[in-house]
C-alpha cells in the first residue's frame, strides 16, 4: 500500500468504487477512446494508397501501402544552404540526425547546467547563492513575453544564429523549474557525506561528481529524458534559430504547409507524422516508468 501510495496509486480497501469514481471513469474512457480512434484512423490512413483513401477515407486500409513510409524518406525534403553557401536538399534521415544533435545536446547541456547550479546554491549557502536562487524564482514567476525578436538579433550579433553550438549556448540557462527540483534533491543530502569524503582527501570537484551527483543521478536522467523529448518535438526554435539545420519536427512543419501535389495527400502526410512519432514513442515505451515517475521521489538514491 505504501509503495502504491508513493507511486501515486493509492486505493483504500475500505472505500468502495463510488459514483464519483464512475463518473470520472466514464469521462476518462471517452477521452481515451477519442485518442485511440484518432490514432487508429491515422495508422490506417498512412497505409492507404491515394486511390484507396479517395474511395474510402473512413474504413480500414485495404491496400496496406507500406511504401508510403519509404516514400516519406525519399520525398520529404527541405532546401537548405550548406556551409559552402550552396543550396542543397536535406532528407528525413539527415533531419533525424539534426534532431538527435539538437535534442540530445541541448537536453544534456541544460540538465548539467541546472543540476550544477542547484548543487552550488544548495551546498554553498552564501549571499551570492541566495541572489542566484532568488533570480530563478523571480524569473519563473514573472512572465516576460515578446522577446523573441530581440533574441534573434542577439543571436545574429553574436554569430550564434543558425549554428548548433548557438542553440546549445542558448540552453545553458538554469532558470527553469527543474532547478527547484534539483535544489530540493541536493538539499536533502546529509552534509556528513561530503565532510567524510573531504576528510578522506576528496577535492571540491570530487565532492560534487563522486558524492552528491551519483545520489541524484536518477533525477538527472529523468530530467534529461523529459527535456530530450521536449526538444525533439520542438520545431519553433529550429524554425527561427536553425533554419539550415532542420530537425525532423521542422521538416514535418514544412511538409504540412507544402502545396506540392506529391505531398498534399492525407496518406503521405500522416505517414510522415508516424515516421517522426515512432522514434520518440519507442523512447517513451522503454523509459515510461522513469519519465512518469514522481520527480520528487526520484530525487535521492540510496
Amino acid at each position: 500500500m505504501q509503495l502504491l501510495a508513493h507511486r501515486g496509486l493509492y486505493r483504500s480497501k475500505k472505500t468502495p468504487f463510488s459514483a464519483f469514481g464512475v463518473i470520472i471513469g466514464i469521462l476518462l474512457i471517452l477521452y481515451v477512446l477519442g485518442i485511440m480512434i484518432l490514432f487508429l484512423w491515422s495508422f490506417s490512413t498512412a497505409l492507404k494508397t491515394t486511390d484507396n483513401f479517395d474511395r474510402d477515407p473512413l474504413g480500414w486500409t485495404k491496400s496496406w501501402a507500406w511504401t508510403n513510409f519509404a516514400d516519406v524518406f525519399t520525398k520529404m525534403k527541405v532546401q537548405v544552404t550548406g556551409n559552402d553557401g550552396k543550396r542543397h536538399m536535406l532528407y528525413l534521415d539527415q533531419m533525424f540526425l539534426y534532431s538527435l544533435l539538437y535534442a540530445g545536446g541541448s537536453a544534456l547541456i541544460q540538465t548539467l547546467t541546472t543540476a550544477t547550479m542547484a548543487y552550488m546554491t544548495s551546498t554553498y549557502r552564501n549571499w551570492f547563492s541566495r541572489i542566484l536562487h532568488n533570480i530563478v524564482i523571480v524569473t519563473l514567476i514573472l512572465p516576460i513575453v515578446g522577446n523573441t525578436a530581440s533574441m534573434l538579433q542577439v543571436m545574429n550579433d553574436l554569430h550564434l544564429y543558425d549554428h548548433l553550438y548557438g542553440a546549445y549556448i542558448m540552453k545553458i540557462g538554469f532558470n527553469n523549474i527543474y532547478y527547484l527540483i534539483f535544489y530540493a534533491a541536493f538539499s536533502k543530502i546529509p552534509k556528513d557525506y561530503r565532510e567524510s569524503a573531504r576528510i578522506d582527501g576528496a577535492n571540491l570537484l570530487q565532492l560534487y561528481t563522486r558524492i552528491s551527483f551519483p545520489m541524484v543521478s536518477s533525477l538527472f536522467w529523468t530530467v534529461f529524458l523529459l527535456l530530450f523529448i521536449g526538444y525533439w518535438n520542438d520545431y519553433q526554435t529550429p524554425l527561427l534559430f536553425l533554419p539550415d539545420k532542420p530537425t525532423a519536427a521542422l521538416g514535418l512543419y514544412y511538409f504540412l504547409q507544402s502545396t506540392d501535389p506529391v505531398f498534399a495527400n492525407p496518406p503521405m502526410k500522416v505517414a510522415a507524422g508516424i515516421c517522426v512519432f515512432i522514434p520518440i514513442f519507442i523512447v517513451f515505451l522503454i523509459f515510461r516508468n522513469r519519465i512518469m515517475q514522481d520527480l520528487n521521489e526520484g530525487g535521492i538514491k540510496g
Binding site: 508513493h6 501515486g8 496509486l9 542566484l132 515578446g146 549556448i169 514535418l252 520528487n296
Partner: protein
C-alpha cells in the same frame, strides 16, 4: 597527552587557503551559466526594450535603423483602434484562458485523482493521458487536421446526408469548435503528473481519517485533496494567466503564417510578426517588441496579484 589533544587545529593560513580554493571553485562553476544568463536574459530583455523604440526600414534594399520614440506603442494602439484583428485575438486569448481555467484544470485534477486512488485501469489511463505530452505537436496537428478535414465530412455525409462539413478548419462557424476541441483534448497531459506528484504527498492517514468520519469520495476530494494540493493548483492557475498573451493554441502548427483572422490569438499574432520574415528582415521586430513590452506590463502585475490573492484567500491544509 591524550589522543584528542594531539589533533592539530588548521592554521589561519590553511583556513585562508581552503577558503580561497572554495571561492575559486565556486566562481569557476557558476561563471559560465551566469554569463549565459546575463546575455540571454539580461541583454536580450534590455535589447527588447530598446527595440520597442526603434524602427527598421528596408524599402531601399538596405536596412536603416532609426529611433522613433513611442511610435511603436502608438502603432499598437492604432491597430487596436482601426483593425478588428487584435480585438478578436484578445477575445480568443481570453476564451482559451477561460477554457483552461474552467475545463482543463478541473478535469486534469479529477483525472489525476482517479489515478491517485488507483481505480480500475489507473495505470493504463496514466500512460494514455501522458502520451500526447511526448508526441510532437506537429504530429498531433497532422493527425487531427487530416481527420477533421477528411474523415469528419465523410462521416457527416454518410450518416446525416449533410455535405456542409468540408474545410472545417477554414470555416468561421465550425472552425472555432474544432480548434478548441484540439486545444482542450491535448492539454491535459502536461499537468497530470504535477497533480499526481502533489497528491502523492498527501498522507494516506488523512484520506482514511476523512472516510472513517463518513466523507464520501467527492467530499474527500473537495475537502482534503484540493486544500492539500492548493499550492500546485495556484502555480498552474498563475501559469495559465501568465500564458494568456503567449498562448498560440497550436495555430502556427495548424495554419503556419496563414491563420484566419477569426482564429488568431495574441500569442499567435506576436509570433507571426517575428516568424513571417525570421532573421531575413528586422522590420517587424520593433512592433513585436512593443507588443511584448505592453502586454508584459499588463500581465506581470496581474499574475503577481492573482498569486497573492489565491495564496492569501485560498483553502488551507489545516
Amino acid at each position: 597527552m591524550s589522543p584528542a589533544l594531539s589533533i592539530q587545529r588548521p592554521s589561519f593560513r590553511t583556513k585562508r587557503k581552503k577558503k580561497a580554493m572554495s571561492t575559486l571553485f565556486y566562481t569557476c562553476m557558476v561563471l559560465i551559466p551566469l554569463a549565459q544568463f546575463f546575455i540571454f536574459y539580461g541583454v536580450v530583455n534590455f535589447n527588447s526594450i530598446l527595440l520597442a523604440f526603434k524602427s527598421y526600414d528596408n524599402s531601399t534594399g538596405v536596412v536603416v535603423e532609426s529611433w522613433i520614440g513611442w511610435g511603436n506603442f502608438e502603432r499598437v494602439f492604432q491597430i487596436f483602434r482601426s483593425e478588428q484583428t487584435l480585438w478578436i485575438a484578445t477575445k480568443n486569448s481570453l476564451l482559451y484562458f477561460a477554457f483552461n481555467l474552467c475545463v482543463v484544470i478541473p478535469l486534469s485534477m479529477l483525472f489525476a485523482y482517479y489515478i491517485y486512488r488507483g481505480y480500475p485501469a489507473a495505470g493504463f489511463f496514466k500512460v494514455m493521458l501522458f502520451l500526447p505530452a511526448v508526441i510532437c505537436s506537429m504530429v498531433l496537428v497532422i493527425f487531427f487536421k487530416e481527420f477533421v478535414e477528411t474523415a469528419i465530412p465523410e462521416l457527416m455525409e454518410r450518416w446525416f446526408h449533410d455535405d456542409g462539413w468540408y474545410a472545417i478548419l477554414s470555416s468561421e462557424n465550425k472552425g472555432p469548435v474544432a480548434l478548441m476541441t484540439f486545444y482542450v483534448w491535448f492539454l491535459f497531459s502536461g499537468s497530470i503528473l504535477l497533480y499526481l506528484n502533489a497528491m502523492g504527498n498527501i498522507p494516506k492517514s488523512l484520506i482514511e481519517a476523512a472516510q472513517i468520519d463518513g466523507a464520501g469520495e467527492f467530499r474527500t476530494f473537495w475537502r482534503v485533496v484540493i486544500p492539500t494540493i492548493w499550492p500546485t493548483l495556484v502555480s498552474l492557475i498563475v501559469l495559465a494567466l501568465a500564458d494568456l498573451v503567449a498562448n498560440q493554441a497550436s495555430l502556427f502548427s495548424i495554419y503556419g503564417i496563414f491563420a484566419p483572422t477569426w482564429s488568431q490569438t495574441l500569442g499567435y499574432y506576436q509570433f507571426f510578426l517575428v516568424a513571417k520574415y525570421g532573421a531575413d528582415s528586422p522590420v517587424n521586430y520593433p512592433l513585436a517588441s512593443a507588443f511584448g513590452l505592453l502586454f508584459t506590463a499588463i500581465v506581470a502585475p496581474l499574475t503577481l496579484l492573482l498569486r497573492y490573492l489565491l495564496t492569501r484567500f485560498g483553502p488551507r491544509e489545516d
